[in-house]
Amino acid sequence: MELEKYKLGGTHLKSSDFEKGKVLTTAWQPNLAYTWDNGVAIGRYLDELKNGRIIARVCHECHRIMLPPRMFCELCFRPTDEWMYVQDTGVVSTFSVARVNWDASRRGPKEPPLLPAVIEIDGATKGMGILHMLGEVDPDDIKAGMKVRAVWKKSEDRTGAITDILYFKPLRAAASKKAPARRKR
């Protein structure tokens, strides 16, 4: 390294110096806990996920079918008007291929990448839907505009959470798996 030929003055600190308490610091582990009230919109949304269905809310002024549902329209600034079930299929709006976990730790060599995607859900207004994960798909095969379908947990395992959907898979997953030639870039 070019820089190594320059001798720096002072005392170098290593992370082990901190770990061994050679550098004086003050540490504190906070113990905070919250239970947020779901309220009407989130409450019904999660209830319906437990039922294996996706529900949206309609504003009669701007005619948007909003997903996730909300009890007020943030643009018209009025209460929304009715519930509407939407499909559990949709179109990938955008996606990423994550080689690290949520805490920035690197995924092992045998672990497949995580595939977060924003899915515009069929039946909701364009541009609205669910941020979830893709599965049963080769990362190289994912494209914006790809049709996908929710893969649900078994009904007895659902708890009323966004994770009641395991992931979204390509509508023709079986076909694409059998596809002989994988497209390479």
């Binding site: 504190w28 009230d37 009890m71 007020f72 600034f77």
Partner: protein, 383 residues
């Protein structure tokens, strides 16, 4: 012409110990929709938005990002002040004074019921080197202040208890209040000892709720409202956080914030000019200590003024006719919002069963609670 700023609309959900039926977004939307309807303005026409909120209370990092939807501020100039509503009010006032904004909406809310270990959260505000390792209850800070305040001013525990009796009684006339009660001084003095001389009933319990207010410059205010409520004075200040060096008897932060607000409003004789006041009573003795800091009476006189009935609903200078934090509930960053709400309703003559007759100038004062030494003051008038 001297430029003025007025409150032209206000809306609230009222205040309840718990609000399990609505999310914080749904709670805030109700207050915002009422405020904009009250002001006769749609949020699309409002220039800027301010929320008074604090990440640890919300349980979200960067909670400002979660503010726009429920106040109608999507893709509009929006910011969050991690302080009391009255500090946000001061920011809104300054935004309008720049001339860049004709209208600004200000929001504050409490979902205190959603924080499962509030004492731990309050304790997390303590200095981690000097104070936190001692593991004292946050209320001990108030107990220490109360002891010194009582010692310096010869105020009695009975007088402090009487604040609770008055304010919980006032709250029974206030449909927004969560903790109205008909109690006696002995009930306060016999309630659970917390950090003596503080008892359980000396401490304001927490409540949930939201308030939104709309500010406008003078010209816009007169076009929008038949009863604009003018902001005459604002002040705020913070004492050293070092508990070891603080003045424990006097609320210097309140005295200096008030001096700043009185100077701006041109008020030389507060006790003669202020018709009524909503002041911080998060702990019973705080109402008395703050009255003295605000120069509504001299040091040591607040307890006697209270006993004379002068600060009661029908007295010469009603203090906390809404019920204060003891009667309405402690609302964290929305504490000032509730006080401004009360001032606006009183000054408009819309306060119903608790309306004080012939009021023109009201004062609202907040303190950000233990272990802080931050205070803010607002003076409003209907003239």
């Amino acid at each position: 012409m001297i430029k003025r700023v007025a409150i032209v609309g206000i809306g609230t959900t009222g205040f309840r110990p718990i609000t399990p039926d609505v999310s914080y977004r749904e709670l805030i939307f109700e207050a915002a929709r009422k405020a904009y309807t009250d002001a006769g303005i749609e949020p699309s026409e409002i220039g800027g938005f301010i929320t008074a909120a604090e990440d640890f209370l919300e349980g979200y990092s960067i909670c400002d990002e979660y503010c726009p939807d429920q106040i109608g501020a999507v893709l509009k100039p929006t910011q969050t002040i991690p302080g009391d509503f009255i500090q946000a009010l001061a920011t809104g006032y300054m935004m309008i004074m720049t001339g860049a904004f004709k209208t600004v909406a200000i929001e504050a809310h409490s979902k205190a019921s959603n924080v499962k270990n509030i004492d731990e959260l309050m304790g997390f505000a303590f200095d981690p080197v000097y104070n936190r390792p001692l593991r004292e209850t946050p209320h001990a800070i108030a107990g220490l202040e109360m002891t010194r305040y009582m010692f310096e001013t010869c105020t009695s525990a009975e007088q402090c208890a009487r604040v609770v009796v008055k304010n919980k009684g006032n709250a029974m006339r206030n449909p927004y209040a969560a903790f109205g009660a008909d109690i006696a001084e002995k009930d306060v003095l016999n309630s659970d000892p917390i950090s003596l001389p503080l008892h359980r009933l000396d401490i304001a319990p927490h409540a949930d709720g939201a308030v939104v207010a709309v500010l406008a410059d003078g010209e816009t205010a007169l076009a929008l409202s038949e009863t604009p409520i003018w902001i005459e004075g604002l002040g705020w200040c913070t004492d050293t956080p070092t508990l070891e060096m603080r003045d424990w008897g006097e609320a210097a932060y309140a005295r200096l914030a008030a001096e700043m607000a009185y100077k701006m409003a041109g008020i030389a004789n507060p006790a003669g000019m202020i018709d009524f006041a909503e002041i911080n009573d998060e702990y019973s003795f705080k109402e008395l200590q703050h009255m003295e800091a605000l120069k509504l009476c001299r040091p040591g006189e607040a307890g006697h003024l209270l006993e004379s009935g002068a600060t009661s609903y029908a007295g010469d200078i009603p203090i906390n006719v809404s019920g204060g934090a003891l009667g309405v509930g402690h609302l964290f960053e929305a504490s000032g919002a509730h006080k401004i709400l009360e001032l606006v309703e009183q000054l408009r003559g819309e306060a119903g069963a608790r309306q004080i007759p012939d009021v023109n100038i009201g004062l609202a004062q907040v303190w950000r609670g233990v272990p802080t030494a931050t205070g803010a003051v607002a003076i409003l008038s209907n003239m």
